[in-house]
Symmetry: C2
DNA sequence: ATTGATGCGAAACGGTGCGTAGCGTAATCT
DNA sequence: AGATTACGCTACGCACCGTTTCGCATCAAT
């Protein structure tokens, strides 16, 4: 790892064209929107963007890598990860609805296409985990931990596990069964999860530290 | 539906060879096991099975259709749907573990590969729903409804929805995040779901036949 | 201004798998 | 026997992949 910190030395030669980069992502996005993942071949993307195939391959090793970059961009735009704040329950509820909405749009279509390929492509899986799932799960877990500290949520349930309990049914329905997500479904899911996660009415906030031994049996 | 019940009229011409059928499914199964979905091309399957490509295409319109048939067979073998019985909680718990185990084997690998294609192939999606998900969900829901009638499970929660609450986190973890399933994870998931689904200790069965009551806890 | 390095577009390539067609042969029914 | 369908084989056109080659463009360093 001999990397100069902030290397002032610019790379020699002609720099890569940002326009080409944008044009490719744009064309890919349109194709995915209009005709789906199968139709968004590299050759089609090159044709529509006016960028040469070689230029595309110079930046991305293959199609999934390109789509991942696009997915992360779109996801960050339409559904930024939640942040710890005043009312954890409300934050979680909003997050669930936000993710549900995003999952029904372009981001969802991209994700579902990538998941199949991720089975055979460990690098792709890594990229999805580190770029999408891990940060989001961590952010959500932080909200939950905050709720546990302030006494709104029951302690004793690992926060990451709790996030999976909240979001699992949604993803199962949207990406595995591929059925539409209704508001009713989201409300039911959230209510059910909270039934198990929320603190009993009389619970108090956490003390200094370590003092939060509670019998986990409700 | 004008289908003659047990049509005695045999089709004219040479009948299709059951050996060829089996040989194809066998070869496909082996290839999927050894080298994954991507490597299980029609040409490879034909080569390994000793069956001509044309013969394969005469039976299945494309590769997904073939893999679906294989998946349904394997799923029925390694994890037959649950049946209503004495102890609903135990049946559900076993079912969760059984599905988890199956999802980590060949069946799971096939399913995950098919899901991506199902996005663009409505017929494939239909086949997966009618052949796999719908019957299994119905069977599980029946177990839950039985539990609700006998008072072991709380009433008022739609049974199909309840099944998704139980299995959602598992599928999310296995097929979306593609992380391994631990016994601990399954136990936690099940306990959590039951916390919300199980009847309060004092609950009574639905009407008349009241003998079956039992306080939950195990 | 020249030099050297890199990016760009265009064109062509070999490779792979798809799904189809033509052919001669095999099996079964009437 | 004749009709009909399945089988294996070979070959084909097609689409897309990922790579290579080439001439020109664009940058930094000299």
């Amino acid at each position: 790892m001999t990397v100069p910190p902030t290397p002032p030395r610019a790379a020699p030669g002609r720099p890569r064209s940002p326009e080409a980069h944008r044009a490719v992502l744009n064309a890919a996005s349109e194709l995915l929107e209009e005709r789906g993942y199968a139709a968004a071949t590299i050759e089609e993307i090159a044709a529509r963007s006016g960028v040469a195939k070689t230029t595309i391959y110079r930046r991305w090793p293959n199609r999934p890598a390109l789509v991942v970059e696009l997915l992360l961009k779109v996801a960050a735009r339409v559904a930024p990860p939640p942040r710890v704040g005043e009312d954890p329950l409300e934050i979680l509820r909003r997050e669930l609805h936000l993710v549900a909405k995003a999952s029904q749009g372009l981001a969802g279509r991209m994700l579902i296409a990538l998941l199949g390929e991720a089975e055979r492509d460990p690098q792709l899986r890594e990229a999805l985990m580190q770029g999408l799932f891990t940060p989001r799960r961590k952010a959500t877990a932080a909200v939950i931990e905050h709720g546990q500290r302030t006494g709104v949520l029951r302690r004793g349930i690992p926060a990451l596990f709790a996030t999976d309990l909240i979001f699992g049914p949604l993803f199962y329905r949207r990406f595995i069964r591929q059925e539409p997500i209704t508001k009713r479904f989201l409300d039911q899911t959230f209510d059910f999860a909270m039934q198990g996660l929320a603190a009993a009415p009389g619970a108090r906030p956490a003390r200094s530290k370590g003092r939060d031994r509670r019998p986990k049996r409700s």
